[in-house]
Amino acid sequence: MKYVPAIGLEVHVQLLTKSKLFCACRTDFGAEPNTQVCPVCLGYPGALPVINREAVRLTALAGLMLDSKIASFSKFDRKNYFYPDMPKNYQISQYDRPLCLGGGLAFETGGRTRTVRLNRIHLEEDVAKSMHAGARSSVDFNRSGIPLMELVTEPDFASAQEAYDFLLALRQILVYGGVSRCNLEQGNLRCDVNCSVRPETRSGLGVKTELKNLNTFKGVFNAIEHEAARQIGILEGGGVIRQETRRWDTDAGVTELMRSKEDVHDYRYFPDPDLMPITLSSGQVERWRSELPELPRQRRERLAAEFGIPAYDAGVLAADKAVADFFEDAARLSDNPKAVSNWVMSDMLRLLSETGRSIEDIPVRPAALAALVKLVDGQAVNMPGAREVFEELFEKGGDPAEIVRARGLAQVSDEGALEAMAEQAIAENAKSAADYKAGKTAALQFLIGQVMRKSKGKANPAGVREILKRRLSG
């Protein structure tokens, strides 16, 4: 019998705000432990929370980008539980009246477009971070109260790959919209996964397990692969799946039991009397809608149309907003956008991935790339030389023409000099010259290489080719 998985995601996304959700403490990553705290986020009795308007706007923005309905009425509830990461003994969340309802996201996976439905998006506060060592846990409250939006999908994913591709597309949109940085290393995006399997021939959903502790996309992928296989193995062996919460162990590559259904949490939600409800007029929602940024799909189409670059290029460039911004700035300053696109797609992306840096943190400016393209087009420097210039720009920034001068990379196009070098190369390599004349065209490439060496790489290869061909055809 063949089994099909049904997978749903709960994605917690840190919103891009300067201050926390209910207090003015900073949200900066990497601060000294317990230095971005106040009576509200430390959970002191009597301290009163006040909603950060920007967190509401960003959540609504995400909802609008994901085709959700923005609730005209929404409120906060207390989710009660007892754990040292939440000293007031409840987390402020939204239970039955979330900010955004429904929606969906269309994304590319396995060569086709899939749409996964969203159930809701709600706003909640993050909890403190606890680190366990020996018989004690250390607690840092810097993260306590940081605004998170939780996106809950319907169980629409049929494979780990689909869930993975969805997360990539979701991150792209949220970064484009300025909703979140979605920096996984800084824990900006964390996932819980609901996973069940059912026989292909049957409708409805099987018993599901919940997987916790997933903070990388690869982790989500691996955990689903493993958990679906585990469930299918149990069913094929005649066993039953129990509803339970499991933890993904990255090192061991397995899911392990955290708690069974009997211990399922009973959070006793009730409306938080410290917080007033939120009402959003349709006028307000429409104003936000009109401020929506351009989304990846639209950008892809516009880049191709506006700069006349191939659809493939547009897709690669638009995948990352910062890369697309860089390309667009450089292409506007250049009359050869395709060459700009080639530089960004090849040398730029390669160097970024090799150095692990982000395009916002490197010194090369879009104007410098446009200038470099102009130097190449004007034959002031050949491609190998231009690559050298680009690498220096990438490291230190600067003016391409200046770097060409300083490094002595100016292309040798002087006919007399090239003729002399070609003559010399032919004299020194009589056999290759004879081979070429006898019809071995590959020999020409060798001779071009010899001339390039004599010019220390600065000759114009196309010019050298012409000169050699002319000389050898006589």
Binding site: T17, S19, N52, A135, S138, V139, I278
Partner: protein, 101 residues
């Protein structure tokens, strides 16, 4: 499954509530709280006699909405002061008995 979770509000399952609150009750305490909480539920039960047909549930007792603050950050408290009253700390963190789960 306890009675309370089945929706019978006439009796509170003190043992279950204590477990949720991570409280270890002596049998004597459980008995005392059982009596007291049952009385409290009885008081509240009077509300069930009120006719609420057609009345919208309220989210808040005060008719105020949209109380917001701007996204303006402020420096946190001094850490020494924050940790001063902790039963146990290491100069940077609060220290608590190990709990995982």
């Amino acid at each position: 499954m306890n009675e309370e979770k089945r929706g019978d509000c006439s009796r509170i399952d003190v043992e279950y509530v204590a477990r949720l609150a991570r409280l270890d009750l002596e049998p004597r305490e459980a008995e005392l709280f059982q009596r007291q909480l049952t009385q409290i539920v009885e008081y509240i039960r009077a509300l069930q006699g009120v006719d609420v047909e057609g009345v919208e549930p309220m989210a808040h007792a005060v008719a105020v909405e949209n109380v917001f603050r701007g996204d303006v950050p402020r420096d946190g408290l001094d850490r020494d002061a924050v940790l001063a009253n902790a039963p146990e700390q290491d100069g940077e963190h609060f220290r608590v008995p190990l709990i995982v789960g």
